[in-house]
Assembly symmetry: C2
Homo-oligomer: 502 residues x 2
Amino acid sequence: MNITIDRESTTPIYLQIKHQIQEQILSGKLAADFPLPPERKLAESLGVNRTTVFNAYQELKADGLIASHVGRGTIVISTNDGAGNSGSHPSPLLWRQLFSESASRARDSLLGNILQMVSRHDIISFAAGVPAQELEPVDVIRDLQTQVLKDGGQAAFLHTPVEGHHPLRESIVKLLESREINVSLDELIVLSGSQQGLDIASRIFLESGDVVIVEEPTFFCALQTFRAAGARIVGVPIDENGMRMDALKPLIEKYRPKLIYTIPNFQNPSGVVMNLERRLEMLDLAYHYQIPILEDDPYGLLRYEGKAVPPLKALDRLGYVMYLSTFSKILCPGFRVGWMAAPKPVIRQFAWVKQNMDLHTSSLSQCLLDRFCRENYFSNHLKTLNQRYLQRRNIMLRALERYAMPDIFWNTPQGGYYIWCCLSEDVNTTQLLTKATEHRVAYVPGEAFYNDGQGQNYLRLNFSYPAVDQIDIGIKKLMQVIQESVVTTIDEEFPLEVRPII
Amino acid sequence: MNITIDRESTTPIYLQIKHQIQEQILSGKLAADFPLPPERKLAESLGVNRTTVFNAYQELKADGLIASHVGRGTIVISTNDGAGNSGSHPSPLLWRQLFSESASRARDSLLGNILQMVSRHDIISFAAGVPAQELEPVDVIRDLQTQVLKDGGQAAFLHTPVEGHHPLRESIVKLLESREINVSLDELIVLSGSQQGLDIASRIFLESGDVVIVEEPTFFCALQTFRAAGARIVGVPIDENGMRMDALKPLIEKYRPKLIYTIPNFQNPSGVVMNLERRLEMLDLAYHYQIPILEDDPYGLLRYEGKAVPPLKALDRLGYVMYLSTFSKILCPGFRVGWMAAPKPVIRQFAWVKQNMDLHTSSLSQCLLDRFCRENYFSNHLKTLNQRYLQRRNIMLRALERYAMPDIFWNTPQGGYYIWCCLSEDVNTTQLLTKATEHRVAYVPGEAFYNDGQGQNYLRLNFSYPAVDQIDIGIKKLMQVIQESVVTTIDEEFPLEVRPII
């Protein structure tokens, strides 16, 4: 690949690089599947900044000419993508130039890569955030489905209200009672997964430049969604008792955030639970500074030991908390059903926005999950999960004790899905992932959970999804890969192409 | 209800009105279900502009203190909504003041009202846009469901790629071939209903103030979505051959739109088909001015007579057309599955945005619809629908001939769902709807399909949803209501509260 840079030109260097690669792809010089050099290497060889090459590659990706895949680096994906074959007009559209600023902010392939990895059967994936596949109550659901389609099947076929299938809302209200949360039906909206709740909350509360407070580290999809909304993300450090209130207060005073986002139970990725004292303190701060709290609680019911702490929503006496949760961590993430409990004005505004987004959540999914709750399968299934996941957590902890080097540290979560590992400072887990997937084991690199490039020596391990007999094998492999990385210099060996933070 | 206006005050009049009503609700003076006076009446009695009262009511609605329902007017919905009981701080949040500008633009309850009306069993609804309930192939779907959950049920439970369940994408590619549209798998994305396509297209192409060209009249959800994006909507008049190209060209030159939105087949609401000549002309204009076309084609396969015209997408040789369609008009609208076929860069950008919205469309819905296509139920079902809907269309046309006054005109659509009626100029169909629902018959008022308050003497009648034996009865009732409205003055009799155009 020949690229020459003209530093006198008025064309920005990243565009010079882009145009030359584009020309070579369209002319057929670079064939499909041709591996492009890693960004850092190309940057060095051209004597330019790494971000310059990064920007050039991003443009080429957006134009559909190249693509990055974990484990394969960056490759040419098409030699004739419809563009630029005729010199005369009319000419093909330059689509990318038509895309809005906010659309451009949504470009992030990390999650896509993870979903892809989860579906690869040849990999032991600790990267997932989904329930154990083999524990899904397939038979029960098949029976319920038959019932749903037998009596009054129309509910599953026809539209439901934007706010959700009425019986399901009743079921969720009951479910919330078990968490000490008391809401009426009109304080509840069913969502197409809790991801939709993050997106709608962003649309409703965040304008470009607004500040949102998050735990640091935090759930990467939340970061991605806030980022796409153009928000400024301010992270508050956590310790073993959750978000640090001594750090939160001055940050609120400094930034006057529009929203506080928190995962108080079995936090993603750290597994930490915010203690009661801090919850009350966070509420007091919110009241004092008049800031709404978005409480994300997908894992709260998955407690394997210790005593439950009431959700912020249950402690909130003034209606400042929007409580987001989902069925997806208990069963059937593919059904895409989550919910939000919040004061009525918020629910109404959510409904207005959701109506424009998808009218309502799949009626079929809603009817089925309602039956599942209504016929009391939910609590039994939860009981099973809590036993099995405790077992898996313990297997993973034992494997870590057995295979991890002495400079690796991790927590012992009382529930949820994740173990959060801290490696020695010279390990870069983003780079290491390529190596790991070559050895057929995957995780989520720590960098994904930070907004600013921190966390490079952390990684998140999930123990709910991998098969019981694969956990020990996978951890052993992973630790070998880490050990090797410390002795050899793998830094520039293979392209670094998981780029969660843009 | 006592309200006094202080014209010397620095508080805007609409807020004075709002605060006084709010105070009376919170103090219990106005109890739940208390009917507020119609806007126009209150405006008259206070000697203020109607929009002033409208704004006051909107604020009260947003605060969750009052609500409007078709047929019930505006009523007080709550006397203690959590707000304003304690005088001391900390105080409840003023949620509405936290909502973003774009969120505020999304407030529109028309669709919610229609969905509500469709689910009322005591009304003959010509307002729907959904398939006949009794023609849904419940038994087939139950069998397919059992199969889906038997072999490899996991696909329905687990996540699918953002772009959609791979087998379903194959099935849709085949379906598109029957419409002369040839796309590859990576030129296709499955969506959570075609509404999601409208929303994502708005996010991707429209920034506040951008112009989008639409047919006039057009689908109200599209108007609503474009409006929520802050777009400027420019309508192009239609005639019996679709959007008028002689009007389109100067509007393009004047406004340089970012997007052209069109429903070329059995247009909603007019039922009109754009002829081949105009389709080619529209493409030429798009090529010349480099404007992408969003072709919305939910009804194209529902043709009862005459010859099909190829979709714009099939005629487009340069990749300017994004083709949006859905299963929802053929079967199971509650499943929420639609799709978009477009050039790869667009699909990729759609996937990036969709990922933040809901990760992916319900796997269960996708698996089922794939089976339905794959096992060839689709084409048989379509054949049945086309026979039955022709019959219903004819029944409705006959009923109109029998009962309509001589100054009512309507079209004879060759397919699709709708008959579009033009009434005499002094009839206001928005106001008439309240009366009609009292008489247990519903339609969508014409105003909903215009961006600027036109269409007040039009109404849209749907013939796919109402039961065969109800069509004649319903049309008869409706025509009676219209006739009465002409002789009596109903204008101010009851609050006008379907407010599609804000």
